[in-house]
């Protein structure tokens, strides 16, 4: 015992570790590492500090809001541990400087990330650099720590990751039945249409039957158009006229409740436009503009009625044009943007009332729209402690003692912390083995760009992909390309697969690579013409990779160390319920003598957060099977 304690002390002293993420878990982890005797710690985090971090990220103070998490965390820990080395990077872990060579200098990598994308990226770099990875996440009182060592245990991507729930386009555009559908509509269609990039595809009007009529400019404010008139025109168009149009399609409503068109004159009958148009308000000039505040609504947990929502919507629209006109055209929904949240809440509620869906408060709507995960310091502290335990085992090469540990909300089998032996690598994992994938796609109508966006970047998580067909390079991403090459690739992007310089047809094999991630995989193409719009909305189907099985919890938002968090550009990042409960049940089931009923306390979490995120990874069924073999 004594000798093993000394050995671990020595291992700790000599270790060089990389922490990715200095958020909720990161703060606790850095403290615990420092107190446990680690002396050479590197931290990467892209984020800056926000007020909503302060309830748990205890290395930060109010005066640090807006500053780099990595730097402030470093300085805070050096105050009570002045003699250790902490190197901080205020940067995206996906940046090119953090290449395989960079990763190779570390004995172990510790993740405290908040999004799938960055987790997958780090996993690939750790595999390529052959550095062990300790991965973690928390949501409310739930949390988990897993260990990934190449060749010894499964990699982070050996099991399917829960992927954000996506909704069929027509549910969002025409037939919402849940509040979340209205939120997605308000956030990804209406908000994006009015304030976002005008060149972005947007389905807002797609299903209105008036094709041909050049209505596409209806959302533009006309020259000299009174702001109030514009706001009312938009209101009537999206909540009134568009609904009327949709109602004309009798087929849609045969088995559905018909929505009620809402016009501003009905929602706010008592107010004439002049009254509503008073643009001055008493709110302080230097403060962030807020429709709620200007209208005197104080409580974000109160549910506004249709009239109040209509007032908030009109006001928010005005405020965007009056106070933030420069940003219009570049805005992306952000859950920390008060005015954007107000606009989306009001728009979603008006739509909800038109479709007979119960209305929600701003607080609730913000949670849905921002995929906010609830979080407290305690769970992060426990998880950080467990990460350090696993890290020390890893440093000692004690792989028989590695454990995945789950932190539960209620004791199950009298335990709150549940250790589980790690699984073996999945032999058909496209990341850590070399199994080819299969893509069903219509090669005659699908453009290369769609395959790259939806599959290679979207599903395989590559950052800067390169695509080869046989020996022909058809696409490469990244800087440093010759001008003519770049132009050539740009042309290829817009070509359908069958018309590429090296045609892609049934049976073709694509090779895709990401040099930064040192990941290469093959995709066999199968030509198929018919796709189910509801079930296969991408118009192509990738198999042989760990396909998503469950609805999920994504993480979101602040995005510690990856620049492209699952922010809010598309309907896919809304999540409902993750598979936590079932997963735990299955894992517990697979242990002998387990009383499965006792796990009913393992609760399901609904949403996410910016800072510290769990998620529940492997497909419990697969996991179970493997363990039993």
């Amino acid at each position: 015992m004594a000798s093993s304690a000394t050995a671990s002390e020595e291992a700790v002293k000599a270790a060089k570790v990389l922490m990715v993420g200095a958020g909720g878990i990161g703060c606790e982890l850095l403290k615990t590492l420092a107190l446990s005797g680690f002396r050479d710690i590197h931290i990467i985090d892209l984020d800056t500090i926000e007020v909503s971090n302060l309830n748990r990220q205890f290395l930060f103070r109010k005066c640090h809001v807006g500053q780099s998490k990595a730097h402030v965390a470093r300085d805070a820990v050096l105050k009570f541990r002045p003699n250790i080395n902490i190197t901080s990077y205020h940067a995206n872990v996906k940046d090119a400087q953090f290449n395989v060579e960079f990763f190779k200098q570390f004995n172990v990598v510790l993740n405290g990330l908040d999004n799938l994308d960055a987790r997958r990226h780090v996993n690939r770099l750790c595999l390529a650099a052959e550095v062990p990875l300790v991965e973690s996440g928390t949501t409310g009182f739930l949390g988990q720590v897993t260990v990934h060592v190449k060749g010894k245990t499964e990699c982070y991507e050996c099991q399917p990751k829960p992927v954000p729930k996506s909704y069929p386009v027509c549910t969002i555009t025409s037939t919402p039945s849940k509040f979340v559908h209205c939120i997605v509509w308000a956030k990804d269609l209406l908000f994006a249409k009015l304030f976002g990039d005008k060149n972005q595809d947007n389905d807002l009007n797609v299903h209105s039957s008036e094709s041909g009529s050049s209505k596409s400019n209806v959302f533009e404010r006309n020259k000299d158009e009174d702001l109030d008139q514009y706001a009312r025109r938009i209101y009537d168009h999206v909540f009134g006229y568009n609904i009327e149009l949709a109602l004309e399609n009798e087929e849609t409503w045969k088995n559905r409740r018909r929505p009620n068109p809402v016009y501003i004159r009905d929602a706010l009958p008592e107010e004439d436009s002049r009254q509503n148009g008073s643009s001055h308000d008493c709110s302080n000039e230097q403060e962030e503009p807020s429709a709620m505040v200007s209208l005197g609504f104080r409580n974000p947990q109160e549910i506004w009625n249709l009239a109040d929502n209509s007032r908030v919507l009109l006001k928010a629209l005005r405020l965007f044009f009056e106070k933030r006109e420069k940003e219009i055209g570049n805005l992306i929904f952000d859950k920390d943007d008060q005015l954007a949240v107000e606009f989306v809440t009001a728009a979603a509620n008006i739509r909800a009332s038109s479709f007979g869906i119960p209305l929600h408060s701003l607080f609730e709507a913000k949670g849905v729209a921002g995929n906010i995960v609830h979080a407290v310091a305690t769970t992060n502290a426990i998880i950080a402690g467990l990460i350090v335990i696993e890290a020390i085992k890893v440093l000692q090469g004690d792989y028989k003692k590695y454990r995945m540990t789950y932190c539960l909300e209620h004791p199950s089998r009298k335990m709150l912390l549940m250790p589980v032996e790690p699984f073996e690598p999945n032999k058909s994992c496209y990341v850590c083995s070399e199994t080819p994938l299969l893509l069903d796609v219509n090669t005659k109508t699908t453009k290369l760009r769609e395959v790259i966006d939806k599959i290679i970047k979207g599903k395989l998580g590559m950052n800067l992909p390169l695509v080869m067909i046989g020996h022909t390079l058809v696409f490469e991403d990244g800087d440093g390309l010759e001008e003519d090459e770049a132009a050539n690739y740009a042309l290829n992007l817009e070509k359908v697969l069958a018309e590429l310089p090296a045609p892609v047809i049934n049976g073709t094999k694509l090779t895709v690579e990401d040099f930064q991630q040192e990941l290469s995989c093959s995709i066999n193409i199968k030509h198929r013409e018919e796709f189910d719009e509801e079930k296969e909305p991408d118009g192509m189907v990738l198999s042989g990779w760990s396909a998503p099985v469950e609805k999920q919890v994504t993480s979101n938002g602040g995005a510690s160390s990856s620049g492209a968090p699952d922010t809010d550009g598309n309907p896919e990042d809304i999540s409902t319920k993750p598979g936590m409960k079932r997963k735990l049940d299955e894992i517990l089931d697979s242990k002998e003598n387990f009383d499965a009923s006792s796990t009913s306390s393992a609760q399901v979490v609904d949403d996410d957060d910016d800072d510290d995120m769990v998620m529940l990874d492997e497909d419990p069924k697969l996991a179970k099977k493997k363990r039993l073999q």
């Binding site: 015992m1 606790e28 403290k31 615990t32 420092a34 107190l35 446990s36 007020v51 909503s52 302060l54 309830n55 748990r56 205890f58 103070r61 109010k62 820990v77 105050k79 009570f80 002045p82 409310g140 009182f141 088995n255 409740r257 018909r258 009620n260 104080r298 974000p300 947990q301 009332s353 007979g356 119960p358 607080f363 949670g367 906010i372 995960v373 609830h374 979080a375 407290v376 310091a377 305690t378 502290a381 426990i382 950080a384 402690g385 467990l386 335990i389 003692k401 454990r403 540990t405 004791p411 009298k414 335990m415 709150l416 912390l417 549940m418 250790p419 306390s601 949403d607 957060d609 800072d611």
Partner: protein
Amino acid sequence: MAAAAAAAAEAKTKYDRQLRIWGDQGQAALENASICLLTCGPTGSEALKNLVLGGIGSVTVVDGSKVELSDLGNNFLLDVGCLGQSRAKSICLFLKELNDAVKAKFIEESPVSLIDTNPSFFSQFTVVVATQLPEGSLLKLDGICRKANIVLVAARSYGLTGLVRVNLKEHNVIESKPDHFLDDLRLHNPWAELKEFAKSIDINDKDPVVHKHTPYIVMLDLIRNHMLNFDEENYKEAVESSYKVSVTPGISDEICQIIDDSSAKVNSSSSDFWVLVVALKEFIANEGNGELPLEGTIPDMTSLTEYYVSLQKIYQAKAEFDCLAMEHHVKDILKRIGRDPDSISRTFIKAFCKNARKLRVCRYRSMEEFSSPVLSEVQKYFTHEDYWSVSFTLHLLINLFSFLHWKFLRSYTLTGASLVANSMCPLQM
């Protein structure tokens, strides 16, 4: 005024992520709590950090020692500048920095001597957290805390293993948050307005849309007489929910036991909880007509918006009526026992009414009666060398939050990577 509103708004933002766990009421419970920490070593400091970050009302640190070199290596709340100073004082300074909304006080005295010389000191707190206290002093403290019905959390760390015990005499739970609970639809005993509404709906309406969107509550009420066309969503819902009609009418045994408990005879020193229980008893005998106050919420269902909203209003109105009646009883009782009739807030009464079916009373044995089994558990796990932990005492906070969130209490033994709950089986009432 504006400054206060701004501060409130900032607190909402700061606590947003945890408000999503325990809501405003949980947060209010936390903010109204005052906590006393005995001995601020690494274990106590971790616990305090988590409580202070969450916004606990006030903290009083009792510790008689000075900061030594050995404290610097293991306590992140202290730095070189603190050497030689009072440990309690140094920790308090740091806590203020961590969250300026929290009041932090310190007392430079050894906890052991404070327990001996000034037992009444502890009665001012909501929770006492005792770390690394010798068993004898701990049992004495447990006695003191039980007398005043104060929560005692005792934590001890032994190298890489540790033990957390939570105790108090009686724990009253309003929001017990059971996993499964039937909606309070009151279909077994509908009141006049609900009956009238059900009657007003023509279930034979020929309009297919109306027919498809008749709320199932109404149908449940009528379904026995109007079995129609079963391929419609709302009818399926009705059939699937039909067990709700047969929900055991009247009041559950658990609630009956609480109402008949010996504490349900109030005097001027009774807690608010028991005042409300007596009010509940009077309500059931009078306005309640043998029933508890109505919860007043209905689940989502397939329905025309108009119908849903009307139903919602009917349920809400009845719940408000019941709550108002309860409020009258509460005021009467408070007057009778010589307390200010407005001393129990309407919000509290409302929460009580909403959860009237879920009230729980837990009573726990003293540590003296209950200390031995825990020790044997600990010993058992000492032999497991392959798990060990660094920052286990943090689970303290889970316990405290559970308490403040009005849930059940348990004690935990940490055994490396497994934390074992020793459910402190409540005494039978």
